[in-house]
Amino acid sequence: MKKLLSGNEALALGAYHAGVTVAAAYPGTPSTEILESLAGYDDIHAEWSTNEKVATEVALGASYAGARSLVSMKQVGLNVASDPFMAASTTGVNAGLVVVSVDDPGIHSSQNEQDNRHYAKFAKVPLLEPSDSQEAYDFMAYAYDISERFDTPVLVRSTTHISHSKSVVKVTGRRAVPGREPNFPPDVEKFVMLPVYARLRRPLVEERLAQLAGYAETFPFNQILARERQLGIITSGAAYQYAREVFPQASFLKLGMTQPLPQDLIRRFVAEVDRVIVIEELGSFLQENIQAMGIAVSGKEFIPRFGELSPEIIAQSCRAAGLLAESPTPPTKPAPELPQRPPLLCAGCPYTGLFFTLSTMGQRSALVKSRVKKVAKSNLIITGDIGCYTLGAYPPFFAMDTCACMGAGIGQALGMEKAGVSNKVVAVIGDSTFLHSGITGVVNGVYNKGEITIVILDNRTTAMTGHQSHPGTGVTARGEKTSIVELERLVRGIGVNDVKVVNAFDLKALRTSVRAALDNPELSVIIARGDCPDPAAARPRPLVIATEKCDQCNICLRLGCPAIQIDDGQVFIEATLCAGDTCYLCQQVCPRQAIVFQSESSTQESK
């Protein structure tokens, strides 16, 4: 059967057919759809875990108990999960354990760019790199076999344009029914990593690598494509697809398993061609490891070391290196002068009110006026975090001063306070991110007598990755009801005395509570609560601008609401976008009360 599947859907289907019974993940672009797809099957346990570390531990526990398990995450998720990931390398597995990392070359939706192939080498575990959806599907069966045969977790590394591209998959398998009942065989020397036992496991890890190196020689997706012998290209992942297109006549060594490397196969290939280059995306992982074998290869001397590759970039780089003839038609250039269209907080977003409030406090409005987005000093420092609310850094708010990684804002805020800045410091974090890795920051803040203010923006979903449930929502990944982790009780339980819950659409309440918290010389938590608007919902009660009252002061534009637009100098509200049924922020900022509900305005007109 032929199916059009995204790489993520194919990874999920491959894992399902390989007999996975436990899958765990935390949402993160570009990896989210793997767990979302698996959550659609009734006969497995698929969960959103609170973070990638916990997800990996869940998968590891399931593996110990004899269940084939999967954990998936975006590239930075593996940083969070690195502790159990490294531990799993030492203990090994019972049933197969596959860790999927989806890297984000080009930084489409991440805070950094990192090449997670290095993690496989670091942890001394095997690494598979599919190059399209077909391989994403096919590789999963191999990954589980390798994991069980060599007693090791397996890292499968995808990238944005593999995970989010759709291509045709010949679905050959069916679900393999797990052959054994879950069973945990106690074995202290394998599962209890006291130093004395960890020391016993350590040489086994090296033995395993040596055996895996032998296996890599026979792995069927490490293939030589022998054609013209002038140029040989060693490549893997998405870079293979791009390179095939740029060099239709060259010989290829296409590697599906890139750690450990098939050294004999590489030597054989090198002997068959006149010149060898390596084309790989991001780091020089293959190149350095092949060079370490004593083979002279080039690649990163002309292929970019960062950013995403594409056929165009490879062609340009190889032309500059004299490997490719000049093109008769030079590539076309984008029009430079067009306005950009960055993503925005949606109309009806419960975060808008807080950012509007913060942007008008502590002389931050100077930032709004500053064209260079820099000012020497503001009385209010806002440390940020990862989520839709990071968009608060954009105009018109400029209301975020830092964003490093999940949960970082709270620790950073405390650090700034302890460094002795005279400014007030407020940390802004979303509900899902708070549960992911903000809690420990609050514990630390209370313990170390912090005076910072923490605003938890609680929109009751993991919004940026596409509305996944989390422990605060009372709904599981499979849509079942479960108990709710209540943020206010959680925060009070930690020992925060000053906790306020505020309606995120009430500007007066937001301003009063932020001011009170900043003035309070103890750690304060404000939970600004409001539901994330459903983008597909009908908009029954849009607001409109009564133009006869409007004096075009344009203060409403400072909300950055996509529904508030301007036509020929007159602001208007686009009715199809306005979420007037839940949000009335613009009404609150309008000094002339010119913004009214459509029904009211038509009643007025009929009078």
């Binding site: 591209s165 759709k166 839709c388 919004a463 301007i566």
Partner: protein, 201 residues
Amino acid sequence: MKKLDLLIAGMGGQGIILASDIIAEVALASGYDIKKTDTRGMAQRGGSVVSQVRIAEQVFSPLIRSGEADMLLAFEKLEAARWAYYLGGWGTVIANNLALPPLTVTLGYETYPSDAEITRLVKRQKNHFYLVNGTERVKELGNIRTLNIFMLGCASLLLPFSIDTWEEVIAQRLPAKIRQINLSAFKQGRKEMPAIHLREG
């Protein structure tokens, strides 16, 4: 047909990814190899979104090289101007006659290009340029969310797939509640293109 490289561009929330999924499914059902990829940035809505669809006997890269696309389907005018450089000189642009100014324009930091400027950018290489009144037409139909399917209707006249396949895939991909109105939008799109030919002809 040797190969067909298409770009579908617009603003998040306009249904671009569904539209490109449908084209891909239609091409698959018509016996081709296909690869498609979406660039959608970090957020759910409001940003510039572009989807690339490649159709041929065998496709390697999901990414199109600039200067080699055969068709650009733009759901908004500024996005038509932004992505037109991907087209080969032979390529066709079908753009919805709708301006959605980005926030930076609304705030007065940048200026939205004039129609003349957009036309200049789109027709840099003498491309065929069809400006269709999609938003207006689907408003008349009673559901502006069918714009993406309307645009597919326009494109279908220039693509080598049978109308039955188009309609089957659209019916398959859309829930029963909105199936009929989307099929109407598709038909409306097919009527729109010859009408433009007549107007301009």
